[in-house]
């Protein structure tokens, strides 16, 4: 096990007042530098798994370790990008991105340079630094959310369906951006999605969760990079991988629906 490995052991999470475990007996190891997509039907516990790794939710039983140390709460080495943009609306874009740096007591001048560097890294013009989040489009806000999560140079980037609310074109641009940032800065990425094509396009390995909140399968992605959205179907292994993932997902979806009815 290397320093950046995430190890999830016999993880179960049951929320107070619920008679069903959201995640149940889940085991997973994520290698340092991996780009892992977590796929699964709605309600299977994908986001809960991410929240436990982030330290937001405590396991009912089992454990999560990061670099050999047990995760007991949030930490700056694990950056999080949320499902909807959670920028502070009262603060400028610069203050949002610089929040982590302020928390780390980085001097003002160094903070300013780092903010400019991060804004450029996520493909935005320097003019946005003084703007307020409400003045920007959804895609721009999500770019700033990513820049903010990267400010601490985290070793892990946890992303919870971050592009679900964006239009197709912007979503593809954001997927390219995340892959580029992953290739350039090299954090381990755990990316929760319900979109099979998104998982195939960006991840190096894909985990499918079943309706009981355990791992149904863990597949490596054989498609070479780059993987342009418009030419995904031209890759040799694309159809087989897509079919396999759909079969797994549809099996889980049927089981979940039957479970709910029962």
């Amino acid at each position: 096990m290397t320093a950046g490995d995430i190890a999830v052991s016999s993880l179960s999470v049951r929320y107070p007042g619920s008679d069903r475990a959201v995640v149940d007996g889940l085991d997973l190891t994520i290698d340092s530098g991996a780009f892992l997509a977590v796929l699964g039907p709605s309600g299977c516990g994908k986001s809960t798994l991410l929240n436990v790794i982030a330290g937001f939710v405590r396991p009912t039983t089992g454990s999560v370790t990061f670099g050999g140390e047990r995760v007991t709460g949030p930490g700056r080495e694990r950056g999080v990008v949320f499902q909807r943009d959670v920028l502070f609306p009262w603060a400028s874009v610069g203050s949002n991105i610089g929040f982590a740096l302020r928390a780390a007591k980085v001097p003002r001048a160094a903070r300013r340079d780092r903010i400019a560097e991060l804004v450029s890294a996520v493909g935005l013009a320097p003019e946005v630094i003084d703007k307020r989040p409400y003045e920007l489009s959804g895609g721009m806000r999500q770019r700033i959310g990513i820049a903010r999560a990267l400010a601490n140079s985290p070793r892990v980037l946890l992303m919870d369906e971050p592009f679900g609310a964006l239009d197709a074109l912007t979503r593809h641009q954001m997927q390219d951006l995340v892959v580029e940032l992953w290739g350039r800065t090299g954090p381990t990425v755990v990316f929760v999605t319900h979109d099979v094509d998104e998982a195939i396009r960006i991840a190096s390995s894909i985990v499918v969760m079943d309706h009981t909140g355990a791992i149904a399968d863990h597949l490596s992605n054989p498609l070479p990079r780059p993987r342009p959205a418009s030419r995904l179907g031209e890759f040799d292994d694309y159809a087989a991988l897509r079919r396999r993932l759909h079969d797994l997902l549809h099996g889980q979806q049927s089981a979940l629906t039957l479970g709910e009815r029962g």
């Binding site: 982030a54 330290g55 937001f56 709460g73 949030p74 930490g75 700056r76 694990r78 950056g79 999080v80 949320f82 959670v86 502070f88 609306p89 009262w90 603060a91 929040f99 982590a100 302020r102 928390a103 780390a104 307020r132 989040p133 409400y134 903010r148 999560a149 400010a151 601490n152």
Partner: protein
């Protein structure tokens, strides 16, 4: 409004260039100037409405006095009130009374608001503080502050202290309720962001919780301004020789309805000015809340 003629066909006509659109009577471009004139008329009417409303009230009031619907001992004519105001202004009582009331209201507002914001922040964030303080506050809250005038006099005498106690207490409740509600409603995902970015509890409170609650806190403070002025009038009915509340009571005692109306108008003006000054000074800080909703 200024740019409207340049955009419409009016500009085209003045340049002497006839266009197909301008020649067509039913075309969108040909209709534009009429719509612009209607817009200007509507805007001018909306701007004039407050003035018209005030004029209507004064004219109606004057007519009611002239037609002897009300006795001038109960309702003096507007001109009589203006004359009394001029008299009170020239002998210095109007300004001195307004300043004394404003100073007392401001003192009560500051003391009550500071305590309320601190306690609201505590009860909004801490379960222990909420458990300890909320029952006491909730029991005292329904008691009208005016009902506490006798208690205030018993505890603090008829001097300035009892006035400060009453106004502070009256201001405390709306500010506390709104601060508490705003702070307790801090979004969980904001707190999660702050935690994942390594922020300390103090930094999270100062840069996430407080700014997020600010629109609610400011609403409470604005209610507090109004409450402080209401209470200062009640508090000034005894134990002082200066203040609009005192002057109102004197006008009642000596049957001077013209002076009574001057004091009421002064109270209205002081309240409206204080409210607008506060609103204008703070509205930029919470513009984000309006833009988001």
């Amino acid at each position: 409004m200024v740019s409207a003629p340049a955009r419409g066909s009016g500009a085209l006509r003045s340049s002497g260039v006839p266009t197909a659109a301008a020649r067509l009577p039913g075309s969108v471009v040909a209709e534009r100037p009429r719509r612009d004139r209607r817009d200007i008329a509507r805007t001018a009417l909306l701007a004039a409405l407050p003035v018209l409303s005030l004029i209507a009230v004064v004219v109606g009031w004057d007519a009611a006095v002239r037609l002897e619907i009300f006795s001038d001992r109960l309702l003096p004519a507007p001109a009589t009130v203006v004359h009394a105001a001029a008299e009170m202004y020239s002998d210095g009582t109007l300004f001195a009374d307004a300043a004394a009331s404003f100073r007392r209201a401001l003192q009560g507002f500051v003391v009550g608001s500071v305590i309320a914001v601190v306690l609201g922040a505590l009860t909004g964030r801490s379960r222990i503080a909420r458990g300890l303080l909320e029952p006491v506050i909730q029991i005292v809250r329904p008691i009208p502050a005016i009902a506490l005038v006798p208690l205030a006099i018993l505890w603090f005498g008829i001097g300035e202290e009892s006035k400060l106690f009453l106004t502070s207490l009256g201001v405390f409740f709306p500010v506390w309720v709104n601060t508490h509600a705003g702070i307790a409603a801090t979004r969980d995902d904001y707190l999660r962001v702050a935690a994942s970015l390594g922020a300390s509890k103090l930094l999270t409170f100062a840069t996430v919780v407080l700014p997020g609650a600010l629109p609610s806190v400011l609403t409470g403070l604005r209610q507090g301004i109004a409450t402080s002025l209401i209470l200062i009038v009640a508090a000034e009915q005894s134990g002082v020789t200066e203040g609009l509340g005192f002057r109102l009571d004197q006008a009642r005692l000596f049957s001077q309805p013209d002076r009574l109306f001057v004091c009421l108008a002064a109270l209205g003006i002081v309240g409206a000015v204080a409210d607008q000054l506060f609103h204008q000074a703070t509205r930029r800080t919470v513009r984000w809340a309006k833009e988001q909703s």
